[in-house]
Symmetry: C2
């Protein structure tokens, strides 16, 4: 397919959605990517620059000229244009910015002036903001005009006062269903879900989800409308957030999917494994304290991984629920005590049930009832520690402004390993020998 037949290829790509071309690029080996990109030439859809990810993105940006990037940036909405600009290195960025019109450049530079994860970076600058006293008819006539500031896709009209401060919004469907002589003020929703330009994008996503918004006005510090955020941008944030938590809990940095560069992935995972080696060594040091005990009763060495494993799993359950509940604001300092009580009850009930089973197994295995009792006790004890620690660790990290998903796992499993080994071997040393 990819070899000679230029016109066939171009024909095939003509009707393809940019997202599909991006997928295709990601699947192709690096060499074919460049061939394809140069073949498409100026037929590359501008949206391709924002759809493509990982190594394919790198190849695409390398394969096209800065001029082509500038053309694409001109076509895109502000938020997407900013995304493309952010991906460039300093030199290319300056060159692309120079090739833009003054207006486009100013808009992009202003977005870039807002903090990295803020609403200001996400927003699009073109929006429809009309005065309250305008009628539906005037609004429609204005929209039919060729005014440059009107974006191609929009879902709400924002109603503003003379100071350009928002006083309400009207969904397009309501405009269409209203007679021409009705004023926007009469049909507007007062229930404004305004987004401050400095608001964190996670908070933006939370509000969109909670109030089922399609678009929301972004206001600056003076309360004036400066942009709009639409739901499609928010979906990306929601997906990224959830993915970040999932991967962070497993010790993988979120930027690195299966299409990323190998060296980056290796470095990224190494760091976590290295930290984990440190914590595993700590657990071993605890075991080392009891070498004499193990020598006298090797059954302890056989059973001790069960204590650590059960504690680790119980802690992971609680911790994952807690991390998720913090992210969705179901768990706050308001109900933390109630949830802690519940977790301790859950851990005690499940710990007791499993301790009976596990204790019986070990008793029968080694024909030693005291061993069974010590084992059961250590199991319950470690599971209660796991439940409390699995909840309190993410809560505490969150309180100090640290992302609970990133740092919780290491700490929690270290605690359950160390406590588990120490209690089991310590009690065994005291009672059994």
């Amino acid at each position: 397919l990819e070899e000679q037949d230029e016109s066939r290829v171009l024909e095939l790509f003509e009707d393809m959605h940019a997202a599909d071309i991006a997928d295709l690029l990601e699947f192709l080996p690096s060499k074919n990517r460049r061939t394809l990109v140069s073949l498409l030439g100026d037929k590359l859809p501008p949206e391709l620059f924002i759809e493509v990810e990982g190594e394919a993105q790198f190849d695409l940006y390398e394969a096209v000229s800065n001029e082509q990037i500038a053309d694409a940036v001109t076509e895109l909405d502000t938020d997407d244009a900013v995304y493309v600009i952010e991906e460039l290195d300093a030199e290319d960025r300056a060159e692309v910015l120079r090739a833009l019109t003054v207006d486009d450049r100013a808009a992009i530079e202003e977005n870039l002036s807002y903090p990295d994860e803020s609403a200001g970076r996400m927003m699009q600058r073109d929006l429809v903001a009309l005065p309250e006293f305008w009628t539906v008819g005037q609004a429609i006539d204005f929209l039919r005009s060729e005014d440059e500031s009107i974006p191609s896709d929009f879902y709400d009209i924002f109603v503003v006062d003379p100071g350009h401060k928002p006083v309400g919004s009207v969904p397009l469907s309501r405009i269409m269903r209203s007679a021409r002589n009705i004023s926007l003020g009469e049909i507007k929703d007062d229930d404004l879900h305004l987004v401050d330009v400095a608001m964190d994008k996670e908070e933006v996503a939370y509000r969109f989800t909670k109030y089922h918004l399609i678009s929301a006005a972004v206001i600056d510090a003076a309360g004036r409308v400066v942009g709009v955020i639409t739901v499609d941008d928010v979906i990306e944030v929601i997906e990224d957030e959830a993915e970040e938590d999932l991967l962070a809990l497993a010790g993988v940095s979120s930027d690195l999917g299966v299409n990323e560069g190998l060296t980056d992935i290796i470095k990224n995972r190494f760091l976590w494994l290295f930290v984990n080696l440190g914590t595993a060594v700590m657990a071993s040091i605890v075991i080392g304290l009891f070498e004499g005990t193990i020598e006298q009763m090797v059954a302890l060495a056989v059973l001790m991984p069960i204590i650590a494993s059960m504690g680790g799993n119980a802690a992971t359950q609680t911790m994952t629920v807690a991390v998720r509940a913090i992210a969705t604001k179901e768990l706050t300092s308001l109900n933390a005590m109630r949830v802690l009580n519940r977790e301790v009850i859950i851990a005690t009930v499940n710990g007791a049930a499993l301790a009976v089973i596990a204790g019986t197994i070990s008793w029968l295995w080694y024909d030693n009832i005291t061993l069974g009792l010590v084992f059961a006790f250590a199991l319950v004890f470690n599971m209660i520690v796991a439940g409390a620690c699995g909840l309190l660790t993410p809560l505490t990290l969150n309180r100090f402004g640290i992302d609970p998903a990133i740092a919780s796992s290491v700490f929690v499993t270290t605690v359950t390993d160390v406590v588990g080994f120490f209690v089991f071997l310590g009690v065994a040393a005291a009672v059994l020998l």
Copy 2:
């Protein structure tokens, strides 16, 4: 606040969004919930029934009459109404359905006839579908009419042929920007992203995300438009999916957040811990095979948890990336071999680096270079197994139609524990004694 002053309370709630009332209900203790619900009486917003979750949902549904539920259901969109009906037990459900108009009942019953996780369940039935030859002016006049089938919120107008089959769609913003005499056929997007009534809701969410859709027409087996899915419903699916994967990997069923009933949570988590006890016992049996070896060299017991822990962590990294990549369709059978090669390289490089560190530590600790070498070898070996197994397990489960997030963890950690202990103790027994 919640005690006597009825009118104050009612006043406070008047302007509150249903989502905020739902949050409040979830934070309140059970008794106060019922008081509040009965106080609000018929001022309860219908949306409250879909916003509220967990125990608060149970309390709300208990506290109101079936008549009140029927009133709320009448006000809601089809998809939301179906959600409410699904939450009721058989008896209440029948009573509520009987209280509805024939049309509402028929619509709800048809949605309920589609499979549980399908587009048919998610869709709303009211939509705007107009013939191709209608002009923008005719469309606007129709929308201004009081026609009952017109939904209150919509974002696209679907263009249909005489057989009610979709041939295109027009976003509202484009209608508003076009002159009255232009026909819908001229301005429609041909690029239809149709959703089949039987399509899985995850697939629906994938398409919405990929193609940045705001709404999409749902067609039946004959290709006729029967409903519409809007982006706000899709956001919920995306959030639920990501959450499901996150929790499933940690061994928690997804329905059970911090607000659920205690018994359900205990049962749900117990199951996983019980399975895990089984696998931990398997690992212990492997250790038991080498009791004699450990008795002669207790250092092995001290070091062996490190092997298992590192293998488990490396496997979790790979597995989590794989589960996520399968969910986002970045990982398919097309690129599985390439990704496997990469994972083996990653595991070998990181395994070798960590083995040098860990081997040196153990050598110095016990002043035994052979022990250090055996330990390092077992570590590398187990990490390569972890990488391969962490990737192949979710891929294989997915191939057989099993959700990779649910079953992968147990299997993968069992393999790394068993392999890790067996190789380390086995090689040690052969070489060191």
